[in-house]
C-alpha cells in the first residue's frame, strides 16, 4: 500500500456486536479510507454509516449487480437508510454462505473540511454459489462539520457477527 496510507486504528469483534464506532478521528489527514469485512448475525443485512452520531441529511444512490440482473435506486428504494444514515453494501448472514463476510471499501475525501461530505462505497458478498452482489454506492452527508467519528451499523437492525473486522486509514497528499 502506498506510503500515504496510515492505519489509524483497527478492531475485530470477539463477539457479536450491534455497532462498531471509530471516535476521536484526527483531522490531520486529507481523506479517510475505511476497509471492513463484516458478517451479519441476522439472516442478512446492509451496512450503513453515520458521522458524528448525526441521524439526518444523508442521501444515497446505488448501482447493484447480482449475477443475473443489474439495477439502480435511491435511498427510498433501498433496503433501509431513509435519510438517517449513508447506505453501504449488503453483507451476508445466516441465510447465506456460512462463515463468509462481506468486504467493503468506503472512501471519504476532505472529511475535515467545511463542505458537505461525499462518500463512496464498493462492496461484494456471495451466497452459496447461487448468486453474488456487487454494489457501488454514492452518498452525501449534507453537513459542514468535520467528521470526528464514524459509526457502522446494520441497517436492518441486526448485530455484526463475531470476527467482523474494520480498519480506518488516513490518507495524506492524495
Amino acid at each position: 500500500m502506498a506510503n500515504t496510507y496510515t492505519a489509524i486504528a483497527t478492531v475485530t469483534a470477539t463477539t457479536s456486536v450491534a455497532n462498531i464506532e471509530f471516535t476521536s478521528i484526527p483531522a490531520t489527514y486529507t481523506d479517510l479510507l475505511l476497509l471492513y469485512s463484516i458478517r451479519s448475525a441476522g439472516s442478512y443485512d446492509n451496512v450503513s454509516i453515520r458521522f458524528n452520531s448525526n441521524t439526518s441529511s444523508y442521501s444515497t444512490r446505488r448501482l447493484l449487480g447480482n449475477g443475473s440482473s443489474a439495477s439502480s435506486d435511491t435511498t427510498s428504494g433501498v433496503s433501509g437508510s431513509p435519510g438517517t444514515a449513508a447506505l453501504c453494501g449488503a453483507i451476508p448472514g445466516t441465510s447465506q454462505t456460512a462463515n463468509t463476510f462481506g468486504n467493503q471499501l468506503v472512501y471519504i475525501p476532505n472529511y475535515a473540511g467545511s463542505n458537505n461530505k461525499s462518500v463512496s462505497c464498493d462492496s461484494v458478498d456471495e451466497n452459496n454459489a447461487s448468486g453474488a452482489n456487487a454494489e457501488m454506492t454514492a452518498s452525501l452527508w449534507s453537513n459542514s462539520a468535520a467528521i470526528t467519528s464514524i459509526l457502522l451499523l446494520g441497517y436492518h437492525g441486526n448485530n455484526f457477527a463475531q470476527y467482523s473486522t474494520a480498519t480506518l486509514y488516513g490518507i495524506k497528499n492524495s
Partner: protein
Amino acid sequence: MLNTQQQPYTESRTPNERKTMPHKLIVDCSTGVTTEVELTAEEVAQREADAVAFAEIKAAEEAAAQAKADAKASAQAKLAALGLTADEIAALN
C-alpha cells in the same frame, strides 16, 4: 502518537447479560484503545426506529411489486380475452 496496534478489550458482564443488552465497540483513534459498551437509551431508540423504518420501506416495496404483478396479470387476461395468443402477449413484454 497514534496507536495503530489493535488493543484487547475487556468485558465485565456475564454471558447472559451480554445476550440481552445490545452493545458496541468503540475504537478511540487517539489512543488505539477499544472498549465495549452498552448502547445508550437514545441509541437503542434510534436502532428500533431504524428497524421500523426499514420494515415500512420493505412493506411498501413489496406492496408496489405485488400491485405491479397484479396489473400485469390483469392486462394479460384482458389481452387474451380480445383473442391474442400467449406468444403474441409475450411479444408485447
